[in-house]
């Protein structure tokens, strides 16, 4: 999928997210994107929602549950959350929700910054393969995919969604 399609997906997500936040009576949430794809999606969502707080960015490498198996990620970027997490309503954004392990790691990291009032999960895509009880509150697309197919968001400019054939062993998201 090319950039135009992805942007219209993000437009749709933004509208549904606004409704969801209105229903929950959350006027001004803060937003956090997960590196790398989640940050790219979050940057566009953040703009569309016109949020007052700057965007937070998480690299969950230090919170992964497979460190003992695969070791340190060779390319870690600093996590930056430029607002107080305590008592904030937070919109957490990632590109693809599959196993749920990345989200588990991200939630753990967020809680080391403080105790948020609530967390809403938004993903560009959700797909089969869940290994933890984690679901997206708003997802742009739920494509039917085979277990050996992996979706990958390339970016940041332009954004592009591609499907790659992958062995079953190490699902990333």
């Amino acid at each position: 999928m090319a950039e135009a399609g992805i942007l219209s997906l993000i437009d749709g997500i933004a509208e549904r997210l606004k409704t969801k936040l209105r229903n929950r009576n959350i006027p001004d949430p803060a937003m956090i994107g997960i590196h790398s794809g989640g940050v790219w999606v979050a940057q566009r969502l953040h703009e569309r929602l016109g949020l007052s707080e700057p965007l937070g960015e998480l690299d969950i490498s230090f919170y992964r549950d497979d460190f003992t198996r695969i070791g340190m990620n060779p390319q870690v970027r600093p996590s930056t959350i430029p607002f107080e997490v305590d008592d904030r309503h937070i919109v957490l954004v990632d590109d693809v929700l599959q196993t749920g392990r990345t989200i588990r790691a991200a939630l753990n990291e967020i809680f080391d910054y403080g105790r948020p009032a609530s967390v809403v999960l938004v993903t560009l895509l959700e797909r089969s393969g869940r290994e933890l009880p984690i679901e997206a509150d708003v997802a742009g697309l739920s494509p039917p995919l085979q277990a050996h197919e992996q979706v990958k968001l390339n970016g940041p400019d332009p954004l592009e969604l591609i499907i790659v054939e992958k062995p079953l062993t190490t699902p990333e998201s």
């Binding site: 690299d59 230090f62 460190f67 695969i70 070791g71 970027r77 600093p78 910054y113």
Partner: protein, 323 residues
């Protein structure tokens, strides 16, 4: 076995961290980048990450140290590892136990990593060569040989203050002869492509092979620091001095002590560093040590982030072998 091959696994990842020599620019840069990510952990309400949860790290200090040992301990704790502090000089070896026996006993307690400081050059290498395959060793200073985490935290401090490393001129001043810190700094700065590394010292405190280290040698302080971006002062290692290498500390300060006046020879935005502990009035004037160009206390804070990076990167290889 040479240090380099012992330090890296088949994929070129860090397995032990014993010396800067033999490590490439990419790996050193990766250590600096990883430390950059760890530096932010200090600003959060929970100042630790769960990366090394359940791992045991033993600080084996055969030689006394406050700064290095505490920052290693703090780094290990911020990675959620369990830490054993063994002050060996007052422990088993004093009762005649050999180094290998001490090592075997600690391995039997399922220690995953040894952080070693020892007065003999090659001690960390010896332990790495004899340790279990799943155990990693980090050198926290061995004799006159190497102190690689100190060199990396110094480079990290320079990079944070100056940005790009390659155009810089760096002068290392003082007791080069006895300094494992200087040796590691020179190796790190050269590997990372710093344009000019100088050493400034009286002839009696220079190693005979100084030029072969890839440095410009100066014996006059003001000439040596002229137009440099970074001045690194070394501690005068009184405990390592044998014989009359110096007339007196007073005279040393007259010739090599850094004062605000002398510092004018360096670039106006030059930073001043010191690995600590400072002998005030011997290597440098208090006005310089506490002055606006001093980054000495930042070096201490950066030591924690660098040690977190090195420990987590070296730990991976052992984890990879025992899934």
């Amino acid at each position: 076995m040479p240090f380099a091959s012992l330090q890296l696994d088949d994929q070129g990842n860090l397995r032990h961290f014993l010396t800067i020599e033999g490590l490439g620019r990419d790996l050193l840069t990766r250590i600096l980048d990883t430390a950059e990510s760890f530096a932010g952990v200090t600003d959060r309400s929970v100042k630790k990450v769960p990366l090394l949860r359940g791992r045991v790290i033993a600080n084996l200090f055969f030689e006394t140290s406050t700064r290095t040992r505490t920052t290693f301990e703090l780094a290990a704790k911020r990675l959620s590892a369990d830490v054993l502090n063994l002050n060996i000089s007052t422990s088993a070896t004093a009762k005649g136990e050999t180094l290998l026996d001490t090592l075997r006993n600690l391995e039997a307690m399922h220690v995953d990593m040894f952080v070693v400081r020892h007065a003999d050059s090659g001690a960390a290498h010896f332990i790495a060569a004899h340790a279990d395959p799943g155990v990693s060793v980090v050198n926290a200073g061995d004799g006159g040989h190497a102190h690689p985490t100190q060199a990396m935290l110094d480079v990290f401090t320079i990079r944070r203050a100056k940005g790009e490393l390659t155009p810089l001129k760096v002068a290392i001043v003082g007791d080069i002869l006895h300094s494992r810190v200087a040796r590691s700094q020179i190796a790190a700065l050269n590997t990372l492509g710093v344009s000019e590394v100088r050493v400034v010292a009286p002839r009696t405190l220079l190693p005979k092979d100084a030029r072969s280290l890839g440095v410009h040698v100066f014996s006059d302080l003001e000439a040596g620091i002229r137009d440099v971006d970074v001045v690194i002062m070394l501690r005068l290692q009184r405990e390592r001095m044998r014989g009359a290498l110096l007339p007196s500390e007073h005279e040393y300060f007259q010739l090599y002590g850094l004062t605000d006046e002398r510092l004018e020879a360096a670039k106006p935005d030059a930073i001043v560093m010191h690995p600590g502990p400072i002998n005030r009035g011997v290597e440098m004037d208090s006005l310089v040590a506490d002055g606006p160009r001093s980054v000495i206390l930042q070096q201490v804070s950066h030591g924690i982030a660098i040690r977190m990076a090195v420990m987590s990167m070296a730990m991976q290889a052992s984890g990879g072998e025992n899934p």
